[in-house]
């Protein structure tokens, strides 16, 4: 569609990029149909097309963000269902990223909102702090109903609700070092330990490491690696996000130079989407552009990597698995078939819930920042999943596991935990 930017505005490469994205949009409205917030709220302003238009208006007029625009951008889950739907190829992801940075730079949020965001940004990306916070959360849980009654404090209540009842024991899986392959070596990969996942469910990477090494792949946990930056990236905290990215890139490049890497394995698809975007995020940084592109090219979801290994067919074990495709998996990384094919090969009966394209409402810190919309999406998602009458739910993202896990009695595990079990590993604890 038509845009109105001055040459001066377009001199800013970020604006120029957004202008290019906006020019592709033909305003057809297809994206509204698959947008979880539009489907829930029924307001164009809470749809991709509405947000694109709000962003366009804000950027064209070179205006600071204001409460109205921020409200609707904040409600975006960044699930990217719209990107999958868009026939015109509008890169909504980069547009909304730009808008979030613009908001962070030009808009002063209300004090409580600011505080909560600051707390999340300071705690979640750091496993030590996060672990400590979960302990505190257990103590604070009785306060949740009280907090829920005060609008600005609702996110705190949501946080308390999400904290697991029991804090898993720290695992050795995140400890730096190399895990040698069994038998003939088929490859060497680095695994991303991540930030929240090893605290919430260390079993995922344990299973990944077991499975990969059993299949002849050497797995390295590099020293010094940290949060991928997605969390703060989605808050528009660009500097912090890029700092995380650069730090991880340094770690992996060092590892590549040391022993070579066939892939950087990611077991949380939310992180995968961001790491695969490092190349774009750092495109304007001459010192990092090439390295970032290299890292992005090596980044693989564990299901992608396993697909290339051609695992053998396993006899059916009569277990029905509802596969929940995380948004970051299906929309962010466009991985749709691989996990299902792997599960089927491994002897599971795969069932696909209706409305599989809709987000479960987890979306990083969304379930904390937008508890009401998130809860509606969760209910809808769980209803669809339970309608499959599956024995177990499998997914590839820790956020979804936490979110969906709080609302259903059906056990939910990471896809790789089932695969590990099928190919000789232990039965996932949740299925015991």
């Amino acid at each position: 569609m038509q845009t109105n930017f001055t040459a001066e505005q377009l001199a800013d490469p970020h604006v120029a990029e957004s202008e290019k994205i906006l020019r592709r949009c033909v305003h057809c409205g297809f994206c509204t149909a698959t947008c979880p917030t539009y489907v829930t709220l029924g307001n164009e302003l809470d749809s991709p097309r509405g947000r694109i238009y709000l962003i366009k208006d804000m950027l064209e007029n070179g205006r600071a963000a204001d409460a109205e625009v921020v409200t609707h951008i904040d409600r975006c889950l960044s699930c990217l269902a719209c990107v999958t739907t868009c026939p015109s190829g509008v890169n909504y992801m980069h547009l909304v990223d730009h808008a979030r940075v613009h908001i962070e730079k030009t808009y002063r949020r209300p004090p409580m909102d600011r505080l909560i965001r600051q707390v999340l940004a300071t705690v979640l990306p750091y496993p030590g702090r996060f672990r400590l916070a979960l302990g505190l959360a257990r103590l604070g849980r009785p306060l949740a109903p009280l907090l829920r009654r005060v609008a600005p404090l609702k996110p705190l209540a949501a946080m308390l609700d999400l904290a697991p009842q029991a804090r898993p024991k720290p695992s050795t899986s995140a400890r730096p070092g190399s895990r040698g392959s069994e038998g003939e070596r088929r490859g060497r990969v680095a695994i991303l330990s991540g930030c929240a996942q090893p605290v919430l469910d260390p079993g995922i990477n344990e299973a990944t490491i077991r499975l990969l090494t059993r299949l002849g792949v050497e797995v390295v946990v590099p020293q010094g690696e940290g949060c991928c930056g997605a969390l703060v990236h989605h808050m528009g905290k660009e500097d912090q996000a890029l700092a995380f990215a650069r730090s991880n890139i340094d770690v992996w490049i060092r590892e590549i130079e040391a022993g070579g890497l066939d892939a950087i394995i990611i077991t949380a698809s939310g992180c995968g989407t961001t790491i695969k975007d490092y190349g774009h995020m750092l495109r304007l940084d001459p010192a990092y552009a090439d390295k970032a592109a290299k890292v992005s090219a090596l980044a693989k979801d564990v299901s992608e990597y396993l697909s290339a290994l051609e695992l053998p067919e396993v006899e059916s074990r009569g277990l029905a698995v509802a596969y929940h495709s995380a948004c970051s998996m299906q929309h962010g990384q466009k991985i749709t078939m691989a996990p299902k094919v792997l599960l089927r090969k491994a002897g599971f009966t795969v069932r696909e819930p209706a409305e599989g394209h809709l987000c479960c409402g987890s979306a990083g810190t969304y379930n904390i920042m937008q508890p009401e919309i998130s809860a509606q999406l969760k209910t809808r998602k769980v209803k669809n999943i339970e309608a499959t009458r599956a024995d177990v739910i499998a997914t590839g993202n820790i956020g979804c596991m936490t979110q969906i896990g709080t609302a259903t009695a059906i056990p939910i595990v990471h896809t790789v935990e089932l695969l590990d079990w099928a190919y000789g590993g232990p039965k996932p604890a949740k299925l015991a």
Binding site: M1, Q2, T3, R23, R24, C25, V26, H27, C28, G29, F30, C31, T32, A33, T34, Y38, V39, L41, G42, N43, E44, L45, R49, G50, Y53, L54, D57, M58, D66, E68, V69, H72, T85, C86, P87, S88, G89, V90
Partner: protein, 478 residues
Amino acid sequence: MEAIKFLEPRASVVARRSAIIADLVDLLPRECVVHEARELVPFETDAFVSYRRLPLAVVLPTTTEQVAAVMKYCNRYGIPVVARGAGTSLSGGAIPQEDAVVVGLSKMTRILEVDPANRTATVQAGVTNLSISDAVSPEGFFYAPDPSSQLACTIGGNIGMNSGGAHCLKYGVTTNNLLGVRMVLVDGTVIDLGGKHLDSAGYDLLGLVCGSEGQLGLVTEATVRLIAKPEGARPVLFGFDSSDAAGACVADIIGSGIIPVAIEFMDKPAIEICEAFAHAGYPLDVAALLIVEVEGSEAEMEAMLKEIVAIAGRHGVRTVRESQSATEAALIWKGRKSAFGATGRIADYICMDGTVPLGKLSYVLEKTSEIVERYGLRVANVFHAGDGNMHPLILFNANDPEDAARAEEAGNEILKLCVEAGGCLTGEHGVGIEKRDLMRHQYSDVDLNQQMAVRAAFDSEWLLNPSKVFPLEGRPAA
């Protein structure tokens, strides 16, 4: 684009803006009224994005009663009302104006009843076209009209525009599949037309309302006819060396007495655009492509295909490819249905919608190319060939005002050509704002005056979507 004028906003209404908003906020829950300046901007246009007008306010009611309350209020104060479904109109049907309240039906998305025994579904107006088929699919039914935007467009909007789609060749358009509506008249009165029964006790007001572009009232609920899903359906791709050959083949298929479910046409530029998006396996080495869909049992499809292949053979078909699986069939349709949007990858476009008699297809296609070339522009053709409903997409650069003006003029010429060829201005997208000023090319003053007189029986003050459909000059005084 600036060539098409809107009605001058009513100064008395605009002057009372804050009072009106205060009243609307009283009438409806807070989350149902949009009035902040910033928030109104995304409502200034629909999928006919070349034209834009800010509304005075937007309301998003959740019940018929709320719609009625708003209509009653607006009627009392002489405030224009523009209905909006999903805002996917290609003719600007949902573009508001400065003195208008937009009534958006996007929160009214409940499926009220699926009645398999009577083959009907009753839904709120904001339910999307595709959701109806999704909801009735477990019972073995579908809702037949399938506009390409069916993923997003609402049944209310479909009724407003009497929408068609690829499969209408066999199953008819919206008006042929609509059994009843609940609608709110301009003064807030709620009426029911039709129901689960067929035909009308009196005048066919339902038929009149369907396709009335939000000018006779506001539909809030609809009862539609359902059809049993066919046993199987198979799209087949036929590639030709020329548009002429493809056009002649269409006429021969229809003339032979075979009526496939759909016959879609794409020319080379359209094939390339769609293939790039959908990877449906469209042949890239042909000048024109027909997607012919047959359905029924295996035996039936085989029998029909045999005849169609024979006819295509007589027209020198170059490639024939049957879809081999449901996934492949879905991709073929995904590519076709995304054609307009996918065009956005290479250029801005405006989409024409004229319908011509089948015998004139080739002639109009050729003339269309000539016209567009004369304006120094490019065109991609993708359309419903079986019923002669053409969709030339005129490609242009929206950031170049001269280019845009040329595109608009070329479009007008093409539509006049369709009328001259014995066809009409619009087959399924509606007149909206886009084709309003061309109406006199299709209708005489007497014809149009009669239509406007009937319109006045519903809305004598021109409050409902007033800038649309009828040329601004020569309207009877309110």
